[in-house]
């Protein structure tokens, strides 16, 4: 049988099966805003773990990590570095965010800012930063998905068509089942991703070199500088590694979708336990590096390093297996995209549109607007993914540098009473201006240091300075979660 037909049938089968799980996950709950966005705050350890893993391991994990190992070498280790450390950071932040969320029925990241700082201009700005930064991330998932289907079908299915079909499915199950649907599709995705990563990570070096160690020996002979920083790059050295790992570790949980995930938990200790065990799941990451490094020896000179993994899988294994990898990859794009859509839509409806344009809206109307926004955001990301491709990497870098600027507001919001809306807003604006300035003028890295890290330092400096000059006495965390606390800030939610 034609290998294209085999590979494509397997991919479509996996994608359709995953989407069906998503559609049927709505269970017997009425889908109000609370169920749709935070699953009624009843998720236990396993569902929270699945959701977190589902969101964290995106197409960047699958294609980007092997692509970086292929094209850049040792600097790819930054992925391994931040993958351990971001969970360490989450351990000290998410349980507290959850506690505040449970107390005041928070559903979004901007809700947190509204309750802690009490100023709509700040929470609306946070929502705006969140939505704007999510769009390039969503576009990354789309482009990755298009690449996967195009390679796996040997070019038989054009990218744009694949992206449209897959994202119609995603928007569909997000619309009907909300976050519960995403959690259940994650099960299939995680099993497939873990299984295929373990298998190809060990099998591909074995097929060509007889083992991982032998592959490294061959690589050390062929390209001795590739395996120590800065690898095959001119400027990604140790200063870059430290600043990038630190920035991403602090920024990662500032993606607004992780706040929503934290609220789904049944208790704060579930989030703590999750933070403890999550790094173990990253064992798939070095395996992706091994695949990328093997591809560098076997298939040198590929035009697009992001396709290194798929190309070597296609060369090594039969068509049906390419289909399994393609299906796993497609779900790896769809699950994070689903939750990004859900978060972006809720942020827009609840924290931007309602407070700014129509304060009288009821929760039911907000839910309706949010669901309509799922389709608007899908179309927006699709249009971007189909029309642009050159500025893609810098867009994502901008997204990361952008969400990183939310961190001081969260950290001081939890642990420093004197920080008020004014100082956090001043810091946010400074940080974003510095990040945009450095990245758009192509100064990333600047003097060997990650541009987002520099922006974050400026942000911290301004926030602290303004807080010290004009201190605001806030109720503080204990006051905000105390029993019987009456917080007028929450009234605006």
């Amino acid at each position: 049988m034609d290998p294209r037909v085999v590979a494509l049938s397997v991919i479509s089968g996996i994608v359709l099966f995953g989407s069906l799980i998503g559609f049927y996950a709505r269970s017997h709950q009425t889908m109000n805003l609370e169920q749709w966005t935070v699953g009624g705050r009843g998720f236990g350890l396993v569902l929270v773990w699945l959701l977190m893993a589902g969101e964290v391991y995106t197409t960047f994990t699958f294609l980007g990590a092997s692509g970086w190992a292929y094209s850049r070498g040792a600097p790819v280790l930054y992925i391994l570095g931040y993958n351990s450390l971001m969970y360490v950071v989450s351990f000290y932040i998410l349980p507290q965010v959850w506690e505040l969320g449970r107390r005041h029925h928070l559903q979004t990241q901007a809700d947190f800012f509204q309750v802690r700082y009490g100023k709509t201009y700040l929470s609306a700005s946070i929502a705006l930063v969140g939505v704007v930064c999510l769009v390039p991330y969503l576009q990354l998932q789309l482009t990755g998905l298009g690449d996967i289907v195009e390679i796996a079908s040997f070019g038989a299915i054009p990218k744009a068509a694949a992206m449209m079909i897959a994202f119609a499915l995603v928007a569909g199950f997000v619309f009907t089942s909300g976050i519960r649907g995403v959690a259940w599709v994650s099960i299939l995705k995680d099993i497939l991703l873990l299984g295929s990563a373990l298998f190809i990570g060990l099998a591909i070096p074995y097929v060509y070199f007889g083992g991982v160690g032998a592959m490294f020996t061959a690589l050390l002979q062929a390209k001795p500088h590739h395996l120590v920083m800065p690898g095959s790059t001119p400027n990604l050295g140790h200063a870059w590694y430290i600043s990038t790992v630190a920035m991403v570790a602090l920024a990662f949980y500032m993606w607004p979708q992780f706040f929503a995930t934290a609220y789904t938990a049944r208790s704060g200790n579930i989030l703590r336990r999750n933070a403890v065990v999550m790094p173990l799941y990253s064992v798939t990451m070095p395996l992706m590096f091994f695949v990328g490094l093997t591809a560098l020896l076997v298939l040198p000179g590929l035009p697009d390093s992001n396709l290194a993994l798929l190309t070597i899988v296609r060369k090594t294994f039969p068509a049906w297996f390419l289909g399994v990898i393609g299906g796993a990859g497609a779900l790896t794009a769809m699950v994070p995209a689903a939750i990004q859509l859900l978060t972006g839509a809720t942020l827009y409806a609840k924290n931007l549109y309602r407070p700014v344009f129509s304060p009288g809206m009821s929760d039911a109307q907000v839910a309706k607007l949010a669901k309509a926004m799922v389709f608007v955001l899908t179309l927006g990301a699709l249009a971007l993914a189909i029309t642009t491709s050159i500025t893609f990497v810098s867009l994502l870098l901008l997204g990361y540098a952008g969400v990183a600027q939310i961190f001081p507001g969260v950290l001081f919001g939890l642990y420093w009473r004197r920080a008020g809306a004014r100082s956090v807003f001043a810091g946010l604006v400074t940080g974003i201006a510095v990040a945009i300035g450095l990245i758009l003028t192509k100064h990333d890295p600047y003097l060997g240091v990650n541009a987002g890290f520099i922006a974050l330092c400026c942000n911290f400096g301004v926030t602290v300075a303004v807080s010290l000059l004009w201190p605001v006495e806030q109720p503080g965390l204990e006051g905000l979660v105390a029993d019987g606390a009456v917080v007028e800030n929450a009234a605006a939610l």
Partner: protein
């Protein structure tokens, strides 16, 4: 709810030092472990050692934050 205790924060600083700030000490190829360059094997082993450190932090934090799962959700 309280702030994380100093001990719990100290446990979290260990992986930060080992993975992030000390990069120039371990970013080299030799000695290779099971054939894998030293820098790769160092970070791979911290995928396991980080959970060990955070398990220590967890033990400290759980003592201060008993589970409230059974408490009725706020007013």
């Amino acid at each position: 709810m309280r702030r994380p205790s100093l001990g719990a924060v100290a446990f979290g600083l260990i992986p930060f030092v080992a993975i992030c700030f000390s990069v120039s000490l371990w970013d080299r190829v030799y000695p290779r472990i099971l054939g894998i360059p030293f820098n790769f094997s160092w970070l791979i082993s911290w995928l396991v050692l980080t959970p060990l450190c955070m398990w220590g932090a967890y033990r400290l934090e759980v003592r201060n934050n008993p589970d409230k799962e059974t408490t009725k959700i706020g007013s």
